[in-house]
Every structure is written in C-alpha cells, then in structure tokens.
C-alpha cells in the first residue's frame, strides 16, 4: 500500500474527480497493477463500511422504535406458513379432525348436557384457547384471573393492530398479493384478540358485552368460530 496513491483513489471512489481526471486515472489503473490492487482494496473497505453502517443504523432504529413504542408487537405477524398449499392442507386436516372430535363428543356425552355447563373464563380458556401466538402477557393475566388488567392489555394490542394495519396499507414497498396476505394475518390476530376479550369480559361478568364479539367470531372464518358459536348459544339461553 502506498500513501501517495490513496488521495487519487479516494477522489475516484467518492466521485470527486472531473471527467478528464477520471479517464486519466482509469488509464493509470489499467497500467499499474499495484495501484489497481490498492483501488480494489479501498473499494472493499468502502463497501464493507457502508454496508455495516447501514445495518447498524437499521438496528438502532428498530431499538429506538420499540423504546418509543411507535411500533407494536402486532407489527409481527404471528405465523407465516411456508406455503399456501400447506396451509390449505392443514385446514383440511384440522377440519376433518374437528368433525371427528365433535362427532365423538356427541356420541359419548350424557344426553342433554352442554359442552360447558358454566362458561367461566378459566374453564373456557382451558378447553378452547389454542394459544401458541404471542399474546403471552394477556394469557398470563387471564390465567391469574386478573381480567381488568387483561382487558387493558387487549385494548393496547387492539391499538397496535390498528396502527399496524395503517402501516401495512401505507407501505409502498409491498405488492397487492403481499398486502392481502399481511391483511389476512392482521385479521387473524384481531380475531384472536376478540376471543381473548370475550374471556376477559366473561370473567368480569360482562356477558352482554361479550355477546356481540361472539356474534362476530361465529361469523368469521377463524380458529374460534365453532367455540364462539357454542358459547354464544349458551349465554343466550341463560
């Protein structure tokens, strides 16, 4: 490496040369192997420093966003299946399994009994809640029967989902198909949150407020459709 070469190399890489100077320099590079090697080395440093700085800046931004709370947990879709056809297959298997389980239940249950005789949230939670998503803080509160706190968390998450959906809609970088997919994920999360809200409301003896949510869930294409329908009917019969 030669210090004498470095100024010209830097001017060339940082576009600080006139057209004539560039041409002259490129000619010199073609004729001087040592200069060529030093140019390539400097170019490697420039690329590496730039790439590293951009990555560090992105990481700092993500950390800052979360510290400021401007981006929510809901910014992360709970589950992305590897391929749509696999998801369809899972739906089919789940559907067949559900029909089988329901059939078995009706065959074995004593005549006249209901799936849940007393729909308290902990009973409903243990029987129906699928879990596995990232609402662990709400799950914990429900398990601890701290329903007010669970409701507060749910409201926060609902706000987050609203912000997230706005973010997705405004995102110019995603195409139509991706947008539909992201919105589908958001809808899934909304339904899960509705279900958790139902559990919290039942825990607070606010069944009347839970009913419209159950009504929405039983009409939606979601994991809780059947359970919501069953619970809706039970509360209505009381």
């Amino acid at each position: 490496m030669k210090l004498d070469y470095q100024d010209k190399i830097d001017d060339y890489l940082l576009n600080r040369m006139s057209d004539e100077e560039r041409l002259a320099f490129e000619k010199e590079v073609g004729e001087n192997a040592e200069l060529r090697e030093q140019l390539e080395y400097t170019r490697s440093i420039q690329e590496a420093v730039t790439s590293r700085s951009e990555m560090l800046a992105a990481m700092r931004k993500w950390e800052d966003d979360y510290r400021e709370g401007s981006v929510s947990a809901a910014a992360f879709p709970a589950e992305v299946p590897p391929h749509p056809s696999k998801k369809r297959l899972v739906y089919w298997i789940s559907g067949i399994a559900a029909v089988f389980v329901v059939g078995l239940f009706f065959l074995l249950r004593p005549a006249g009994s209901l799936p849940i005789t007393n729909p308290t949230p902990d009973v409903v939670f243990n029987v129906f809640y699928r879990g596995g998503k990232d609402y662990s803080a709400i799950d914990d509160k429900l398990q601890q029967k701290d329903y007010e706190e669970a409701l507060a968390y749910i409201e926060l998450e609902a706000d987050s989902i609203r912000m997230d959906s706005m973010e997705v809609i405004k995102d110019q970088t995603i195409d139509k198909e991706e947008l539909e997919y992201e919105m589908m994920l958001i809808k899934e999360r909304q339904n899960e949150l509705r279900w958790l809200k139902v559990l919290a409301l039942i825990g607070l003896n606010r069944q009347e407020e839970a009913l419209p949510l159950l009504d929405e869930l039983r009409d939606a294409e979601c994991d809780y459709k059947r359970q919501a329908d069953s619970l809706f009917n039970q509360i209505n019969q009381r």
């Binding site: 470095q6 080395y41 590496a48 700085s53 990481m59 589950e79 992305v80 995603i174």
Partner: protein, 215 residues
C-alpha cells in the same frame, strides 16, 4: 420484561431468510427481534460476558448473519433453507445464529486478552471461520473481501469513526476534523486514516494466513 420479548415471531426460518434477502423491512425487523430473544435466552450456555459486551457480540453476530444471507451463504430453495455447498440445513436458524455468536465471542476474547486462546479455541475458531463465514467454493479474492468485512468489526473506535465518516457519510477531511478536534492538521488526519487502512490490511492478511493457509 424487555419489550422485545413481546416481539418474538413465528415466521418460519425459510420465510425469515427469504424476506431478509428480498430486503423486506418488516421481516428484517422481525428477524432482529427473533434472534435477539433467542440470544438473550441462550447465550449463557455458550459464554458469559458483561451486559455491554453481550450487546456488542449480539450486534456483530446479527450483522454477520445478515451479510451471509445477502451473499447467499445461506439461502432458500424450494421452501427449504440451505447452507454450505447448497446442502439443506439440518438445524434451526437460531442454532446457526448461536454458532456465529460463539465465533464472535472468541474474537472478543482475542481482542480483550491479546490472543490468549487455548488450543481448543483456535481449532474451534478455525473450523467456525471456514464453516460459517467462508465457503470452499468461493475464490481467494472473495475470501479476502469477507475477511476485510470481518476485520472492520474489530477496528478501534477511532478508526471506525474516521472510515465511517469518510467512506459512508462521505465527509471531507476538513469536515471530519471539525467532529474529531484531536486532529490538529489535515495531514495528521490523512495519515491516521491511512494507518487505519494499513492495520486493517495487516489484520486481514494475518487472518487469511492463519486460517486459510496454516490450518
């Protein structure tokens, strides 16, 4: 509870890698918090360091993972995650991530204790370098480039500042002198920058000779 613990993601490994390769900002962010959570939960089984150093090791590990994805060192084919020589991954992405973290930790040990590796560490490091950062199929120049990228993460704070301001922020020497007033002349700054580049060059050659020629 740290806030990122709420941000864990259930993206599949393949979706994360492909999303990062496609520069999807949402996936990049999801990958960051996915790795961060796993790292925080598991680093103690690999090494033990103070909080600040742990954060540095995580950051360097994530950068290397990101670079490996961008350079197709790991990639997705037919929905399957693949790595060295195009072979399918047998483990999880987080396991791969922690292997890089171990490499970064050993580098950190070298940096802080002036090379007091055990023989076992040297063997581990050599093997990790070859397995994780480089590929037998790439040529010498590419290997050297990857080593330069690696060495940049171990530069002194001062060198890092000078080269970042000069090559990334594209500041002139005069502008850098305003921000780094310890340099009293333009020539002194120019010489310092050149020495940083020379040191980097020496470190890169040393790693190349140590792990790709000697071993």
């Amino acid at each position: 509870m740290p806030i990122y613990r709420k941000l864990d993601t259930q993206y599949s490994d393949a979706a994360l890698v492909e999303g990062m390769f496609q520069h999807n900002p949402r996936v990049e962010r999801a990958m960051y918090f996915h790795c961060k959570k796993y790292f925080e939960d598991n680093y103690r089984s690999v090494f033990f360091v103070a909080d600040d150093d742990r954060q540095d090791i995580f950051q360097e590990t994530f950068i290397t993972l990101w670079q490996n994805i961008q350079k197709r060192k790991i990639f997705v084919e037919c929905g399957e995650l693949r790595g060295k020589e195009g072979k399918a991954f047998t483990g999880k992405l987080t396991t791969y991530f922690m292997s890089i973290a171990k490499l970064k930790y050993l580098e950190w040990v070298r940096k802080t204790s002036f090379g007091s590796y055990t023989n076992e560490d040297i063997t581990t490091l050599a093997s990790l370098y070859k397995d994780l950062l480089f590929d037998d199929s790439i040529d010498d120049n590419e290997v050297k480039l990857r080593i330069i990228e690696e060495c940049i993460s171990h530069m002194s704070e001062r060198c890092s500042q000078i080269l970042t301001m000069f090559y990334y922020e594209m500041k002139t020497l005069e502008q850098i002198m305003v921000e780094l007033p310890t340099f009293i002349s333009k020539d002194a700054l120019k010489t310092a920058k050149y020495k940083c580049m020379q040191t980097l060059h020496g470190s890169a050659n040393s790693i190349y000779n140590r792990y790709f020629v000697d071993v």
